[in-house]
Symmetry: C2
Subunit: 384 residues, 2 copies
Amino acid sequence: MRDVAVIGVGMTKWGELWEKSLRTIFSETALLAIDDAGVDHIDSMVVGCMSSGLFIGQEHLASLLPDYLGKNPVPATRVESACSSGGLALRYGFLEVASGMSDIVLVGGVEKMTDVTGCEATFALGTAADQEYESYHGATFPALYAMMAVAHMHKYGTTREQLGLVAVKNHENGSKNPLAQFPFKVSLEAVLSSVLVADPLRILDCSPITDGAAAVVLGPADMAKTLKKRRVRITGSGHATDSIALVSRRDLAAIESTRIAAQKALAMARRKIDDIHLFEVHDCFTIAEIMVTEALGLVRQGQGGKAVEDGLTSITGKYPVNPSGGLKAKGHPVGATGVAQVVEVVKQLRGEAGERQVKGAERGLTQNMGGTGGSSLVHVFEAD
Amino acid sequence: MRDVAVIGVGMTKWGELWEKSLRTIFSETALLAIDDAGVDHIDSMVVGCMSSGLFIGQEHLASLLPDYLGKNPVPATRVESACSSGGLALRYGFLEVASGMSDIVLVGGVEKMTDVTGCEATFALGTAADQEYESYHGATFPALYAMMAVAHMHKYGTTREQLGLVAVKNHENGSKNPLAQFPFKVSLEAVLSSVLVADPLRILDCSPITDGAAAVVLGPADMAKTLKKRRVRITGSGHATDSIALVSRRDLAAIESTRIAAQKALAMARRKIDDIHLFEVHDCFTIAEIMVTEALGLVRQGQGGKAVEDGLTSITGKYPVNPSGGLKAKGHPVGATGVAQVVEVVKQLRGEAGERQVKGAERGLTQNMGGTGGSSLVHVFEAD
């Protein structure tokens, strides 16, 4: 397989974008990435989107989006793996370039979530869980993650305050990200007194409902040498699944699919976790970030709560996690999230992250997951 | 890239399967394919499904289906391109094996369409069209294809009877396919007097609403040599898109994305259309098969109606089209169709097609499309 590089990235402001449709949000973002890459064409495109059918009554994005981008008849693919759809799109694009099937591939992620009521959005998101064993019995995603949080607190002594500190850290980072949906700080007191959603999770433990898109352009690493920007290669790709329903898991307090995907990605990259300088991970709920830091091997199982309390995962800590603000502050348009993680890592490795720059970052990692960890995608990036 | 072969195929009876859920239909079919391949594991899986979100309130099949198949933690992907989701899944699986990322890949397609009302199914299928320009203004798929039929009749003199003869031929073939939803013959008189859906299309011009799945197992061609069954290689893969809405097409009476995808697939296989011995194509409506035979280059533009009238596309004709019975008689569980086409071609090339066997078939082609041709996938298969 050929070496693959990210040669362009693009992202627009996320939020409640009532004045824009899915096709508009996607096209604006894709054009930014194509412009950043400086290429005059693309050979194919891949888009991650979770549920445009339920959110806006539109499937067949594989025809719609190249159409509105003016790129027909290029081959285009939509992939879906719930909230890890964006990470999966990256993996498909990586494979297209690595295999030699295509040279320049546009990888995008998009979701338009605010055109429906809260109930409808909760139903649509619930389709990432097991319909027969979970969602049709009333289990929402806050409820499922609340069960995981309780298991983690019970097993390891993780505290309510430690959960809150994840939100505080990510909003601190997000306050320096002008594209974030909620670019402001929150105090621990604010988190702990925010409205209860599913005990122990409060509203400020939850990532929001967001409209948004993100896009990157991939190409052969050789070609990337001739471009002006610093070259960032994708050196590892890991993908793993687990049971969709929590009831079938051996351990509610661990995310096994992320552990396996990370091992695969690091093995492909021939790196250890300590070789990585920054991490964009899937903090759909505060407990998720704590469990992911453990699954990645940043800390031992059960030590994720203490890690955030000790500042280990702050921008200036040993393992900077979610310098972008994460899903918590940046927003979580579900299909776009996995691609936006790549945008942040590439900006960081190019030294373009402004106030939230992780100093001396040469290697980064993204971790994106679907449902309660029924699917996980991990990618490793290295700057030359 | 490595040579890729289809080493196993599986399909179960299609129809209104009210007693089975999507996960059951898929698992039964996948197990048949794995058994046919004689492999003891799979390295990854890809599933094509159009709209499980709208049809059954379940996304995240990339976690659900490996789970129910007992295959966690293998990487699993769901792809969607409306009714060409199955063909797209095959292309992704092909790429996984060709690139060396995986050795044994299960490729499946599935759709459960009869758990909703007719109105809901029509809405779900309508999401393959342009929401803003077509479906939200009331255009259903029969209506869109009716416009294409009228354009073709006006431009080329295609007759109402020629449309009907496509249904007669495909039901004749389908009557020999025990897995077909409607395994019986229909007369031209029956087609012409069946209830009008969207003028000039009548109910017997339309493929049905179907529950069903299909699966194939792919592997490196070298490995396939050691298996007992005749080896069938995938020698060409073509994929192209077009505008999603008819309003943006240059010609309503031609399917440009299929023409381009076929050219690409044949070029990759280093074959001409006359080298191919049988064709499984996307006859979602009778007019579609006529337009596809033209787009593939079996006959000149405008001669597709005459071709069926002259028996050119019968099983014993020069270009056997849809020996399986096609979408018309076999059924059209939208995400499964593209994979079922592969099942039929492989059975034909192995000489396992029973009463509907095309004599001496060594090379076959599948053509699968989404919407009104907004996306098309064409693959070429060759037996050794």
